[in-house]
């Protein structure tokens, strides 16, 4: 019985993920390609404005920017969509007995292929443009997993909270803008000198992940594997905590969404 329930749970998660992935951007002309066009357009603008300033001392600045934008776009799009999924799918939230976290996890997973493909494009560009990449690239999938775990626990917390407090949408938009500024997307962390902002960047998990990806793609530099392992454990623990928070509030979703 328990095995059958587990099988049905995974089946439900797969169907929700695939359905969300397939129905995404169906109304737009470029459809699926928007997942790649969005960071590329942002790249064009930032490259144009910052190349001769913040980007002057950074090697392969275009790719340096692109890596950060792929990370940031995935984080902001996935958490933004997941935050509102219980509200946007309120027919499901209010009228079905399915475990509601599946809607959030499905949204996160449906955005993952885009992120993985964008990362592969970054690697391909690195190869074509002669940026040397080596065996450290094998660590890239681990970094991708770390990012997905980070997005997942943030999404679980946000989606549950959004059911009760709709203002979170606006607060989160401001937060994302701040996050963009305290994440070294178009500048190098060295640019901040020994200021307080430097420490904010150090504590920013997204900045860490971007730093690791740049290290393996742009410099073939070793990344601290032990630290990545610890981050994996920490993020897994945060998912468990966020899921517990979500499940505790779940009986109140239908009447508050």
């Amino acid at each position: 019985m328990r095995a059958s329930r587990r099988r049905k749970y995974w089946n439900l998660l797969r169907e929700i993920t695939v359905a969300q992935y397939r129905s995404k951007d169906q109304h737009t002309f470029f459809g699926f390609a928007w997942g790649f066009l969005h960071p590329l357009l942002l790249l064009g603008v930032l490259y144009f404005f910052f190349r001769n300033w913040a980007g002057q001392s950074i090697e392969h600045y275009g790719l340096y920017l692109l890596i950060a934008l792929v990370h940031f776009t995935h984080f902001s799009n996935s958490t933004g969509a997941s935050m509102m999924v219980l509200y946007h799918s309120r027919a499901l939230t209010c009228n079905t007995v399915l475990p509601k976290e599946v809607l959030v996890i499905g949204t996160v997973l449906s955005k993952t292929p885009e992120f993985a493909i964008s990362m592969a494009i970054c690697v391909a560009i690195a190869g074509f443009t002669g940026v040397w990449s080596g065996w450290t690239l094998l660590l890239l999938p681990l970094i991708v997993v770390l990012q997905v775990l980070l997005v997942l626990w943030v999404s679980l917390l946000l989606s549950a909270a959004y059911v009760f407090v709709k203002d979170i949408e606006h607060v989160y938009q401001v937060f994302l803008r701040l996050l963009f500024l305290v994440t070294p997307t178009f500048y190098s962390p060295d640019f901040l000198g020994d200021t307080l902002a430097r420490y904010v960047v150090v504590l920013n998990p997204l900045a860490q992940l971007i730093g690791y990806t740049r290290a393996v793609i742009l410099r073939d530099a070793p990344v601290p594997v032990v630290l990545i392992g610890l981050l994996l454990i920490a993020n897994a623990a945060l998912i468990v905590a966020a899921l517990a928070f979500f499940k505790r509030l779940e009986p109140l979703f239908a009447e508050n969404v």
């Binding site: 049905k8 797969r14 007995v97 009760f164 239908a254 009447e255």
Partner: protein, 247 residues
């Protein structure tokens, strides 16, 4: 001799909602927590002291005017709403069908939607793969199998959803006015399905405005008015009381 435990038991169940029903802002949440919000105590009583049991295999029809609390009752039994007072006990896996086709996506094909809708209602892909031909045949949609859902009419969607939901395997079925969708032909087909359900040992709590259906299909009827339990018992008697009250 061991006592047979009820499949569904409600004991003094009350359900109150915030009467304004607006989305909560940060300000409203904080004031409500502090207990001095303008609407901190403003509530609407949707269910008021319900007390009944449903034996395993029994079929109960819930009747009452719009706004009587029928859908709230089903959602409360399903665990989607937490009772404000009293207790709800359900033994067995629940299938809740409130509105046919909830969760189906316009952009996906009929076939993809069967897999999606089936999964939402607790069916495995293997079960659905075995039955998919029969599902589209019953829904009279074999020609539209690869068509996008958005090309189907509302009636066709209802047929498709009901066709899939017939195969859901649960102990307790909670159904909200499923017969109100679709045309006469659909209704006749649905009634045949419900007739086949009779005697399958499953428990049903079904809301309906169709008194003939309640008389034919249900062992008991529950009449709700403004969230209050007006009568519970033999369908013909309860329906008589209900219709007499309506004039």
């Amino acid at each position: 001799m061991s006592e047979i435990l009820p499949a569904v038991r409600l004991d003094g169940v009350r359900k109150a909602f915030r009467s304004r029903g607006k989305p909560r802002s940060l300000y409203r949440t904080l004031t409500a927590w502090l207990g001095r919000g303008a609407d901190a105590d403003a509530t609407l009583l949707a269910l008021d002291g319900l007390h009944f049991t449903v034996a395993p295999g029994e079929r109960v029809g819930v009747i009452g005017d719009n706004g009587a609390g029928k859908t709230t009752l089903l959602r409360t039994i399903a665990g989607l709403y937490r009772p404000s007072a009293g207790q709800v006990e359900v033994r067995g896996e629940i299938a809740l069908v409130t509105g046919l086709g909830i969760g189906m996506l316009d952009e996906l094909s009929v076939e993809d939607n069967i897999y999606l809708y089936g999964a939402i209602n607790g069916m495995s892909r293997e079960e659905l793969a075995e039955r998919i031909d029969e599902i589209v045949e019953w829904a009279e949609l074999a020609r539209f199998r690869t068509a996008r859902l958005k090309t189907l009419s509302t009636g066709m969607r209802s047929r498709l959803a009901f066709s899939a939901v017939r195969h859901v395997d649960a102990e307790v079925y909670l159904m909200d006015e499923v017969l109100s969708a679709g045309d006469r032909n659909f209704k006749v087909k649905c009634e045949a399905v419900f007739a086949a359900f009779k005697g399958n040992g499953r428990t049903f709590v079904v809301t309906s405005h169709d008194m003939e259906f309640v008389k034919k299909f249900c062992d008991k009827a529950l009449w709700l008015r403004n969230g209050r339990q007006m009568a519970y018992g033999e369908p013909a008697q309860v329906i008589e009381q209900y219709t007499a009250q309506r004039g």
